[in-house]
């Protein structure tokens, strides 16, 4: 870990102005906001991130969860994962989000990790975390050691020849299925970005993971009101029963009427370079009978673009089973 300066922001504008001086808000940023620090400090200890300045945003008034007049929800950027997971409105209206949060990390980490921080959670690719290894995400142009290397846990969707790192967050997957909106305040003012546009594919710039620019501060996330009659669920598959990143996961929000799926929002985790919303699966489900056969077709559609690596071909079938089972559970009549 390199020595760094820690400042504590008491006001958002001041924090934004300070952070705007950085050359990048992506990999290698010289100035970073710190919330729970559960990703950032870890990477700083490994010298993967070496910011000169950290701006502590934990005292900014971004810690509220509140109902919106339209029936939706607003979630402050520094709301802790555990507070969000156990909030009564989240449990009642957005079960998928609560379940996703509680399936991640450990109780201790969830007590620290924040909503804004989780949106920016970094990959667990082992080569990214090891500064002696080539990694285009950490060091653009150095190559990708994971392609042809140890890649069992890495992505099969949204990959490029430069990067196959998985987005590790569970929360993001639920947020994608819930069509969350990310609210950002930056040097040029405020803007709102649908979660699907917030993370970017690696392409030939894998060091760039989101649309954030220097000084951009995530202030809060909003969720639309729950779709009437919908049920939601998060299913996570992994080697051990707890405290492990997903090999495959599925967030589903479905409405069934008269035996038919009338609305579906589907996102997959553990398989994509970003939280993987699947319009293909949603289309395959909408208007169809809620049967296993249909679910399987939706799963096939969701994985049709999968590009397995040397060790992770099994993820294609595992992700399909994960989605089919999630849909089965979410559409079961009580």
């Amino acid at each position: 870990m390199k020595t760094f300066k820690l400042t504590r922001a008491s006001d958002s504008n001041q924090a934004i102005a300070a952070a705007a001086k950085a050359k990048t808000a992506q990999q290698g940023a010289e100035i970073r906001f710190i919330g729970g620090g559960t990703t950032l400090i870890d990477l700083m200890k490994l010298n993967v991130e070496q910011p000169q300045t950290l701006i502590d945003i934990n005292r900014l008034p971004l810690d509220k969860i509140e109902a919106l007049p339209d029936g939706g929800l607003t979630i402050g950027a520094v709301v802790r994962n555990s507070d969000l997971a156990y909030h009564p409105l989240v449990r009642k209206n957005y079960a998928v989000l609560s379940e996703a949060l509680l399936s991640g990390a450990s109780a201790q980490l969830r007590n620290m990790a924040t909503t804004g921080g989780n949106l920016l959670q970094r990959t667990r690719c082992m080569y990214f975390r090891e500064t002696n290894m080539p990694c285009n995400k950490r060091e653009p142009g150095s190559g990708c050691a994971a392609i042809g290397g140890t890649n069992r846990s890495l992505a099969i969707l949204g990959t490029s020849e430069h990067c196959i790192a998985t987005n590790p967050s569970d929360m993001n997957v639920a947020m994608a299925a819930l069509e969350a909106t990310i609210h950002i305040r930056g040097p040029k003012g405020e803007r709102s970005i649908p979660i699907g546009d917030f993370h970017v594919l690696p392409g030939n710039t894998p060091h760039r993971e989101t649309v954030l620019e220097p000084g951009d501060l995530i202030t809060h996330v909003t969720l639309p009101p729950p779709a009437p009659g919908s049920r939601s669920l998060y299913l996570k598959l992994r080697d051990r029963a707890s405290y492990e990143f997903a090999l495959a996961s599925a967030a589903v929000v479905v409405t069934v009427a008269g035996g038919k799926v009338t609305r579906a929002r589907i996102a997959l985790g553990g398989v994509g370079t970003k939280p993987w919303r699947s319009p293909e699966a949603e289309q395959a489900l909408t208007g169809q009978l809620a049967t296993e056969d249909v679910f399987r077709k939706a799963a096939e559609a969701a994985l049709s673009g999968a590009k397995p690596q040397s060790e992770n071909g099994f993820k294609v079938e595992l992700a399909k089973r994960c989605l089919v089972h999630a849909l089965t559970l979410a559409t079961q009549t009580a």
Binding site: D239, E244, H325
Partner: protein, 754 residues
């Protein structure tokens, strides 16, 4: 009569006497010691696995604030090699001292050492030492073929015949057997991963060296350091008060230890060196990868006629660690024709070393799996197959077992598990919408004594002190020693002081091979007897003593009181009174027990035995397999502390769940790095993976080992469990996995549906 005299503390569940220190954070582990002026050292790790150091640029690191030195081959000073002496002395599995040459033979090998005023400064400096290498492609390949074939090979513990055991004509018997099985089983490299990281704090006082290190064998470490630094043994003191688990990784000294000592020598100050978790995957040993071919021949009824076990393991470039997979093969079953033979394959890896149940654990995974497959092939119950082949004597040595009650273990296990309800067809058992699989396996582990010495004090305040220079690696040795002393002296447990983990104490055994308890019993008992004899002499020779007119032979000692035998124990005098009347602070006695380990011509074959019965649940829809029930039955002689004993077996079963389903170290083929070198990417079983564990001990004291009949229990619980889990997995899923761990990708091929 005092209560202590009526109630034996042996065989009763006793909470750890060191528990309060541990849960309150007061237990001082090796890295908890701090000294004035102490410096911190952080090694620089090689980032290649095969090559040569071309240039070491330390200029930038040396200029950093707080940095005292960057040590390397040119300025570390002399560090000599250590060779194995008689017994457990001078053993280093990795024999090359650090910085001996410029060749790098494994990823993470130490190439320099940064020493600074703070840990942070040392780490910062280590990070900026620039090393350039002549780099060659490393060989960390996973397909193992023996790459040498001498009849005898040197190993870390002496020469070993590659043909380990042979009887009859195994080839011919196999060829003509009615039923044959020929399969190869693979176990991956695994890392010990004790939670306490390794490290050393070294300080010199003139030519005397003291080192705090979490060692499983302090006297061996003393011998190694004496050789490495050219000192008489008595000038070296090793202190290990507590160990946060070892699992074998702390048995022998690793290269960081002499580095700390050499840095302290060069800089004239105490130096602390603590490893990172990543270093724990590179340079403190691991369980070798093994590839084991097992051939079984049997009659149509299931009587074994031939058993061949040919295995290959990987080893490092320079060292000769022997992964003795054949440890239990030659005696576990009655079979007239048998051969056990091994080969080894060199890789650019840090040397493997002993890991909990070394050899026997991977070995029994293979042979017990083969027995399970044979039972399926024969369509007979796997327990019946084993009982049918139960030996009457150890057929490899032609001598009787001291005490073997494996059949009783099977019988109790079947009863507790309700094994008779098992239906053998794959996928035939169900509960709550899940498919169940039931499997079992047997196990064995060596039982023997290492040499041990102990002392016992009886003190004038009514307390006692027992001392033995062994270690407590978290298994409960403090409590065992207290129990033994309490039993002999009649002093209640809370008035027993236990001293261990210090080479200034009487020489105790290494905490390895599950042999501490069995080894220390005779030593402590003899020490207590000698202390009591001394007390009785004092009692008869002290003017004014009620026993002044007696001879020592007239007296007896029981429950902490001295009395005249003829008068019975009712009128005794507490020993503290006897000592006070004589104005003595204490009397003391020493005791010693001899080794049985390594005996040339043993009269008995001594081992612990046991079995595991396992249930897994299988959810095909999401390819989810979980262990849902385990019953373990262990024949380990007399159990001194059933509470700690059960805990040992439970811990081993948890590790076994990891071995069967989760654990493996991946070596990056390009760089040679153990790439999943952290506890998020190296997956061990967590609480949520562990169902209720049921542990039973069959109580057959083995008096050949010691007067209490106790054998060891640290390792036996991990033997066999993986084979039981893979058998249960097959029973549930129809997928036969012969390479550990069982993975989701294997299970996705199952055609068993809900």
């Amino acid at each position: 009569m005092p209560e202590s005299a009526q109630t034996s503390v042996i065989g009763k569940p006793q909470p750890r006497i060191d528990g309060p220190l541990k849960v309150s954070g007061l237990a001082t582990y090796a890295s908890d010691f701090h000294f004035p002026g102490m410096l911190y050292a952080v090694p620089v790790e090689a980032t290649i696995a095969n090559g040569k150091i071309q240039k070491l640029d330390t200029a930038a690191a040396e200029k950093m604030p707080g940095v005292r030195a960057i040590l390397h081959r040119a300025n570390i000073g002399k560090i000599s090699r250590s060779i194995m002496g008689k017994g457990f002395d001078g053993i280093c599995v990795e024999r090359r001292p650090p910085f001996e040459d410029d060749v790098v033979r494994y990823y993470g090998q130490y190439v320099a050492l940064a020493v600074a005023d703070t840990f942070e400064a040392a780490k910062g400096a280590a990070d900026v030492v620039r090393v350039t290498y002549d780099k060659n492609k490393p060989n960390v390949g996973t397909d193992l073929k023996a790459d040498d074939d001498p009849d005898v090979v040197p190993t870390s513990y002496g020469p070993e015949k590659r043909l380990q055991s042979e009887r009859g004509d195994p080839e011919a018997a196999f060829a003509s057997a009615a039923v044959k099985l020929d399969q190869t089983y693979v176990t991956p490299a695994e890392h010990h991963n004790p939670i306490e990281l390794q490290g050393a704090t070294a300080m010199w006082d003139g030519d005397k060296l003291t080192i705090y290190e979490e060692s499983q064998g302090i006297f061996n470490m003393r011998g190694v350091l004496a050789q490495m630094f050219g000192l008489p043994k008595e000038n070296v003191r090793v202190i290990t008060k507590f160990v946060g688990s070892g699992f074998g990784s702390k048995l022998w000294p690793w290269t960081h230890c002499p580095l700390a000592v050499a840095a302290a020598r060069q800089l004239g100050k105490p130096v602390k060196l603590a490893l990172s978790r990543k270093m724990m995957f590179q340079s403190v040993g691991h369980r070798a990868r093994t590839q084991q071919r097992v051939r079984l021949g049997a009659t149509a009824e299931g009587k074994l006629v031939s058993l061949q076990h040919d295995y290959v393991y990987h080893r490092s470039i320079l060292d000769n660690y022997h992964e003795n997979c054949g440890e239990a093969t030659a005696f576990q079953y009655s079979v007239p024709n048998l051969r056990v033979k091994f080969g080894r394959a060199q890789r650019n890896i840090g040397t493997p070393s002993d890991m909990r149940g070394p050899g026997a654990v991977p070995g029994l995974y293979a042979t017990e799996s083969a027995m399970n497959e044979l039972a399926d092939q024969l369509k007979i119950d796997p327990v019946k197959l084993r009982i049918l082949n139960e030996p009457k004597i150890d057929e490899s040595l032609g001598i009787p077992f001291s005490s073997r009650h494996l059949v009783e273990c099977f019988e109790l296990g079947m009863e507790k598990f309700d094994w008779s309800k098992r239906t053998p067809e794959v996928g035939s058992m169900k509960r709550d919408g899940l498919i169940l699989g039931w499997g079992m396996a047997g196990c064995a582990w060596i039982a023997a004594r290492f040499p041990a010495e102990a002392s016992v004090h009886l003190r004038d305040d009514g307390t006692t002190r027992v001392a033995c220079g062994t270690q407590d690696i978290g298994t409960g040795t403090y409590t065992i020693l207290a129990q033994l002393a309490a039993e002999k002296t009649g002093v209640p447990l809370n008035k027993v002081e236990v001293a261990l983990g210090d080479t200034s104490l009487p020489e105790g055994p290494v905490s390895g091979g599950s042999m501490v308890t069995g080894s220390i019993i005779p030593a402590v008992y003899a020490a207590a007897d000698n202390a009591i004899a001394s007390l009785l002499t004092v009692a008869t020779s002290t003017p004014g003593s009620p026993f002044e007119k007696n001879k020592p032979a007239d007296l007896a000692f029981e429950g902490g009181r001295v009395f005249v035998k003829a008068n019975g124990s009712a009128g005794g005098v507490p020993f503290a009174d006897v000592l006070r009347r004589a104005n003595l602070g204490f009397v003391t006695g020493s005791g010693k027990s001899e080794a049985t380990f390594g005996e040339e011509k043993p009269k008995f074959s001594t081992h612990s035995f046991g079995c595991h019965f396992v249930e897994v649940s299988w959810q095909p829809a999401i390819a989810r397999l979980r262990v849902s029930r385990v019953v373990s039955v262990i024949d380990a002689g007399r159990i001194i502390n059933p509470l700690a004993g059960r805990n040992q077996i439970e811990g081993a079963v948890v590790m076994g769940i990891g071995m069967a389903l989760l654990e493996h170290t991946s070596y990056d083929q390009e760089s040679g790095a153990p790439i999943n070198s952290n506890l998020a990417d190296y997956i061990v079983a967590v609480n949520a993976d562990v169902p209720k564990l049921e542990v039973h001990f069959v109580d057959f004291p083995d008096k050949e080992l010691n007067e209490l009949g106790a054998r060891g229990i640290g390792e036996i619980g991990l033997a066999g469990i993986a084979a039981a889990i893979t058998a249960a997995t097959y029973h549930a899923t129809g997928v036969r996995v012969r390479e550990l761990p069982v993975r989701i990708e294997d299970l996705l091929t199952s055609s068993v549906l809900a």
